[in-house]
Amino acid sequence: MMLSAPGPSRNLPQYGALLVVLLANWLLFPDFFAIRLQDGRLFGSLIDVLNRGAPVALLAIGMTMVIATRGVDLSVGAVMAISGAVAATMTGAGWGLPAVLAASLAAGLLCGLWNGLLVAVLRIQPIIATLILMVAGRGIAQLITEGQIVTFTSPALAFIGGGSFLTVPMPVVLTILVLAVTALLVRATALGLMIEAVGINRLSSAGAGVNTPVVLVAVYVWCGLCAAVAGLIVTADIRGADANNAGLWLELDAILAVVVGGTSLLGGRFGLVLSVVGALIIQAMNTGILLSGFKPEFNLIVKAGVLMVVLLLQSPTLTLFLPRPKGARPMGAVKPPVAPPPVAPKSGGAKP
């Protein structure tokens, strides 16, 4: 039932959903797939979906690993605002691009470290631990920009948001880059295995000698870094930092993307690419609603609908009646009532 990592057949629902949404867009708007080259950069609705979906996709990459450890990071939107504020303010003060990028990323790293230490060392519940930075983070961002919407004219920084590389818009390039680096980091090392092990069974993992606190800190740090990159893109795109609104509510979109991508909120197996696909599904729906002339506000209801459907599919009450390769794992902290020994789980059950 759980749509987990590798093996394309298992991931069909996500790709299928993306395809359906794209086709629906095409039906509504026949020019949807039209792509043209202008001033050395690709344009078109499809490119627009990719471009606008980039920030959420970036957040979703970091969030995926946090959720895989059975956590959640509510602060990513605020971290975006902080990194954007750092970038815009420093650029305005005349710093060069390398220093600006380094400082922004360092800000994201520090935020992630803070969250990670609260979760791993102080053992505060992730929702609560990251709530602190979610509340204070925007204040910190405003402190950096001194409450102004800091604008800048540096073409170097603006390039990150509006430029293109080999005709591909920079946000898309950066997202692909981050995705590749992340995938390399977790799949070419043993980190991915450790993350999944900790998320599935922290006790067993610790008993096998896995350094669980380090794994936890690492995922939150990485999530902070991803958020910083997303913040840079948004700031570069609008050529300014709006500490109040940059990344507002994007943490929820990121969580939604991860859930749509099939990574369970209960932790465990995760798929980075699938989360990015999840982010694209959300963005494509968004674009479709806009194109079809509905009010953009419908988006929220549609998102809620998608969220509920995906979660209902994962709900233990429903899946109780379906064959399911996962052991009957209760949702959330709720322990199942005392019951006779569980039925030996049946095999099979990959989604068609």
Partner: protein
């Protein structure tokens, strides 16, 4: 009596923070220590206080409700549409709004219980839905011009010594009082604490878990609806973007008020004090004039951190009488 002292320690610390904060403000600004400031503090934070009471109950029961801000926004829009576009009298509109908000909350509670889904995610979806419904009704800010609104806004309880309690302030105080009674003098209240303490044990001891879950989210929705009415009185308009981020403010107030986010421990009165502390910080910054608004968020974030640490410390070193916790 060290036992009682320890039990109420979070509440005592919170209250001390409020009192010390108020004294600092009073020392700094000559006009601060006035009944007018107190009255305004209560009026300005009335909708937040009413919402936070509902949130306290939800958190006490071991859940969380992220939809309250959206429900407030939706309620203001619903009222505006009914009264201005539909030509309704405000009173039946209020009744409809309360019923809708309560039913919405109860429905989320039902989903949480029946499908065993995490409250965090269900109420997140609820937040999307409520905001979306508000947007669907209208995206404009509709002013409400019904004469009753003016009358209600002029209503106030004036005391001889100078305190003026507006209708929203009175409503909030009434809700807080009723909530204290509900929490400590009814079986429902005991069931809530039981549920937050340990769901399984509560079930074994005969607590109707399903009914209580539905009821507590229904109550939170109802109070968010009431807060929406107060908010529409306060702003005289209906706007679907109203009260964004209020869920965060209320959760923060609940935590600063000494309630454990994991459920089972806490007091409604603490939440009330937590709301006032947030209001006080805002008032201080307004009075100061030179301080920027973002210090509110940072100060609240720091308070949140300190209180979470305090809770953590209290839980782990429950037995040993540690040193006095540092004041924020």
């Amino acid at each position: 009596m060290t036992g009682a002292l320890q039990r109420f320690l979070p509440l005592i610390v919170t209250t001390a923070v409020l009192v010390v904060g108020f004294l600092i403000c009073a020392a700094q600004f000559p006009n601060f220590a006035s009944w007018r400031v107190v009255g305004n503090l209560l009026t300005d934070n009335a909708f937040l206080g009413i919402t936070a009471v509902g949130m306290t109950f939800v958190i006490l029961s071991g859940g969380i409700d992220l939809s309250v801000g959206a429900v407030i926004g939706f309620t203001t829009v619903l009222l505006a549409v009914l009264i201005e576009h539909g030509g309704w009298h405000p009173v039946p509109a209020f009744a409809v709004a309360l019923v809708v908000a309560g039913a919405f909350g109860a429905a989320m509670g039902g989903v949480i219980h029946v499908f065993r889904m995490p409250p965090f995610i269900v109420t997140l979806a609820g937040m999307f839905i409520a905001r979306g419904l508000g947007f669907v009704l209208t995206t404009d800010s509709i002013p409400i011009n019904h004469p009753l609104y003016g009358e209600l806004n002029d209503m106030a309880l004036r005391f001889d010594f100078g305190l003026k309690l507006s209708l929203p302030a009175l409503l909030m105080l009434g809700v807080v009082l009723a909530a204290v009674v509900l929490a400590h003098w009814t079986r429902f209240g005991a069931n809530l604490y039981a549920l937050g303490g340990n769901r399984q044990s509560a079930e074994l001891m005969g607590v109707p878990v399903g009914r209580t879950t539905v009821a507590v989210y229904g109550l939170s929705g109802l109070l968010a609806g009431l807060a929406g009415i107060v908010f529409s009185l306060y702003t005289g308009a209906g706007y679907s973007l109203a009260a964004t981020g209020v869920e965060l403010d209320t959760i923060t107030a609940v935590v600063i008020g000494g309630t454990q986010l994991t459920g089972g421990y806490g007091y409604v009165v603490g939440t009330f004090v937590g709301v006032l502390i947030q209001g006080l910080i805002q008032t201080y910054i307004t009075f100061d004039g030179t301080l920027s608004s973002w210090w509110t968020k940072i100060a609240i974030g720091v308070l949140l951190f300190v209180f979470i640490l305090l809770q953590k410390g209290l839980l782990t070193v429950w037995a040993g009488r540690g040193g006095e916790p540092a004041e924020a």
